[in-house]
Symmetry: C2
Subunit: 505 residues, 2 copies
């Protein structure tokens, strides 16, 4: 490399980029990747370099674990977790990828021995509607799919939905970042829950908008406390920050809490009074553990059930995704958002910005279609689909309960059981000596805890500081996706007890 100063360096690039933080895939994930590679290629530890694979340093001894347990990311289908994709989905998409399978006379007969007839029929219908999955679609997404999304919303909520106000996206993240980047001016305030999914702080940092944190109440099962929210609003106003938007994640990530109808009404009332746009991240809406006790209500439904002056004016954008739920199709990148009460002039801007990115991935659009219209009862594919989705629901729920129960048995940990989503966010009562040690290492105490946990057990969990937490409290986020829950618990328990012992007063 020459000694000429590069045109791009940390002083010359977009300074807002430097303020972006995103813990879920940071240092810890990089280290876990290295361990995974090392376990797959044991010769790597000798430092035998290839050009292509980053190697650990030569000092590394054999690892004290056999595999990396990826409890850091809500990625159900990844290796090691292996949540089985829904057969119905994959059958239909495989046909759409290679339509000759149902078009060519010499293939049709063979295919009918493999694929159920309702799958073949549905693939044909989708093919007529979409055409080739290799073509750009409308920038909003395929109209026929948006119509079925509208129908899904109508049936879920009991209120009409307009396909022209529904945009298909490359996952919920793409939708969130697009809408926030339109809605927020530099310096605008955006209320976000703490703890939160770090996409929000990352996006706000990039937009030079102000995150206005409102703390969720850990002592009350991570519920929203309306007084706290009001305080955050008045605080912002006192500081001259316009409160433009309010983000709510329901069911919560990382908390797993589901909002009550009453809490939602209060929030909407506040948005009405203060002229705040409501951003409802509802990607975990089907991941509800006990719907009879704590069902999911969409913000659209609650909004539309309120008096007309409110229901026809509060601006709401609701986000959904195929990455979570029972499909877990993260890699396909599919989702949608519905805009409610957004003015036409702003909707035109939303359309323009969507058109610059051409169109969402067609495979993700098909995923959205399959999510909003699963096989109907009585159809050939229904029983298998039901069996597969029930298993996924039950697994998540059982693991989540089991893990929470065990966390609460350990000294120095307390954990609110989750009501939904796919995470737990246990609190670590961090010993003083551990906090001092972390300081010496130049790390947040919970980051040190998570890194040590990974080094000792191969368990990959994200430190609470990546999501935000009350100052002086420490957490980690773990997913409830690991099939070997007991192995996870055993490894975790051993590490935690040793950690507490090591740093005890």
């Amino acid at each position: 490399m020459s000694s000429r100063t590069p045109a791009l360096n940390l002083k010359t690039i977009n300074p807002l980029i430097l303020d972006v933080h995103y813990a879920v895939r940071g240092e810890l994930a990089i280290k876990a990747d290295k361990y995974t590679q090392q376990l797959a290629n044991p010769q790597l530890k000798s430092g035998s370099n290839t050009n292509n694979v980053e190697t650990l340093n030569n000092e590394v001894e054999e690892l004290p674990f056999k595999h990396v347990v990826t409890a850091n990311i809500g990625n159900p289908q990844q290796k090691g977790l292996n949540q089985k994709p829904l057969t119905y989905w994959r059958q239909i998409i495989s046909l759409l990828e290679y339509p000759q399978l149902f078009q060519d006379s010499d293939k049709k007969e063979l295919i009918s021995k493999i694929y159920p007839s309702d799958v073949i029929e549905r693939a044909k219908t989708l093919y007529e509607e979409i055409g080739s999955v290799g073509a750009y679609t409308h920038s909003k997404g395929v109209l026929a799919i948006r119509k079925r999304v509208a129908k899904f919303i109508e049936e879920r909520d009991g209120y009409p939905a307009d396909p022209e106000s529904i945009y298909l996206t490359a996952g919920a993240s793409a939708g969130v970042s697009s809408i926030l980047s339109i809605a927020l001016q530099e310096g605008d305030g955006c209320l976000i829950p703490i703890p939160q999914y770090p996409l929000y702080t990352a996006t706000l940092a990039y937009l030079n908008a102000k995150p206005l944190p409102y703390y969720l109440s850990e002592s009350q099962d991570w519920s929203m406390d309306h007084e706290t929210l009001l305080k955050a609003v008045s605080e912002a106003k006192k500081n001259g920050t316009p409160v433009k938007a309010l983000v709510i994640i329901n069911p919560g990530n990382p908390t797993g809490a589901c909002l009550s109808k009453e809490a939602m009404e209060q929030v909407i009332q506040l948005c009405y009074e203060e002229g705040i746009v409501l951003m409802a991240d509802e990607v975990y809406q089907t991941n509800i553990y006990d719907p009879s006790h704590r069902p999911f209500h969409s913000f659209k439904k609650i909004l539309k059930s309120m008096p007309e002056n409110i229901s026809n004016s509060v601006e709401l954008v609701s986000f959904h995704s195929i990455s979570k739920g029972v499909s877990g199709e993260c890699g396909r990148r599919g989702g949608y958002y519905e805009c409610v009460n957004i003015s036409n002039e702003v909707m035109e801007q939303v359309y323009k910005m969507a058109s610059v990115t051409l169109c969402p991935p067609v495979s993700g659009q098909i995923g959205v279609d399959l999510m909003v219209s699963p096989p109907v009862k009585g159809s050939e594919s229904y029983e298998l689909w039901k069996k597969e989705t029930d298993l996924i629901h039950n697994n998540l729920k059982e693991r989540s309960y089991l893990m929470a129960e065990h966390f609460n048995k350990l000294n120095g940990i307390s954990c609110n059981p989750a009501e939904g989503a796919m995470y737990l966010f246990p609190k670590i009562d961090m010993p003083k000596k551990a906090i001092e040690e972390a300081k010496k290492r130049g790390k947040e105490p919970d980051v040190m805890y998570a890194l040590d946990l990974l080094d000792a057990t191969g368990i990959c969990a994200v430190a609470g500081s990546g999501f935000g937490q009350e100052p002086g409290t420490y957490h980690i986020r773990v997913t409830a996706l690991c099939p070997e829950t007991k192995e996870f618990i055993g490894g975790f328990e051993k590490f935690h007890n040793e950690f507490m012992e090591k740093y005890k007063d």
Copy 2:
């Protein structure tokens, strides 16, 4: 809707959004969509509304054409154009979507009657490398695929490539917007060709960066004129605008021009001297009509062939895509960029920003893999692949030549033949009276021309003003993708002659 002022209106949203323009999918595309819907559902013209489909007004008479000819977007596989997807691609992806096809003993045998054995083998290998296509991958994309991209680049250029500097993306657009948003500070200057693909002006407007236009030389086959480029640089410096980046589209969109090696060396020299980052949009690199006369050279190759002080310091990002070339898989959203000579500290920021968007669509990543490593000569799938890709190359070339030839026969049109890409950008000698009429209608003259063309013939072409053009000149961009080239030419000729007659002096 209540009378309460909406929180989101044109005064309160992000003001930079208002400055974004994107002609390719603007008014013209919306009108063409309506015509397509009207032709598919003739009852629409009576104004019988459905909630879901926008209707034309009641006055609309039967349309003077039978179908809409979509010559506005480089979308080879769309309905009406129907470029056939490559069989090899679709076979492999269909297997990866439903791996039971090659895993389950009861399906394997049937499948072996449909799929060539090399396809099945490759799908198995990819499955081992990737796992489920429904899982998030590494934020940079699957390592095994990035390694094959590096190999492709090495074989193309004769210089090494590092998989860690290669990022898979959701198409080239996503990569361009991500890199520009990192590289540019507010107020930074970015040299862009005029005419250009409007993604660049749209992205720069959003970033509040300054587009620094350099005009391509229409009288010299749309070549880059170095003096013009130098003038744009010194002009910017005189105005106190830091010249941070230079965008080059090669082969050109919308011009179809391919750069000579000498022009490229001059550009690189300039970047070296001025400390400018080079952004090479090389998405049409395989769409070359006459490689013996005007071959494609990558900027990476030319850069690496230059003296060491230059080759090891000029910062280059090169973009590629599966949407163009012979694959034309736009809807899959796949591409990559390679970063050359970018400092490690900046590469860390690139990685961080990629991780916020989680990962590119896996289906698009697989597309990149198939693009960079097609079936090898002698393999079972090779002959069909060769036949299909040859046909696509030949069709594009023949149509492009034929269309250019015909344009040049018409009065008041001149058209540089294209050397590559998939567009033509003919110049319309706009009659004064047409310019006056356009003024009355509040439109750019070429926008009026394109809208009238659509109304009269169903041919959808984008006005040159969407791409930029020398003041006082008027163009349209048409793709060379329409199978009914002669029908296109006939309809166009009739409209154009009538237009010229109508507005003659």
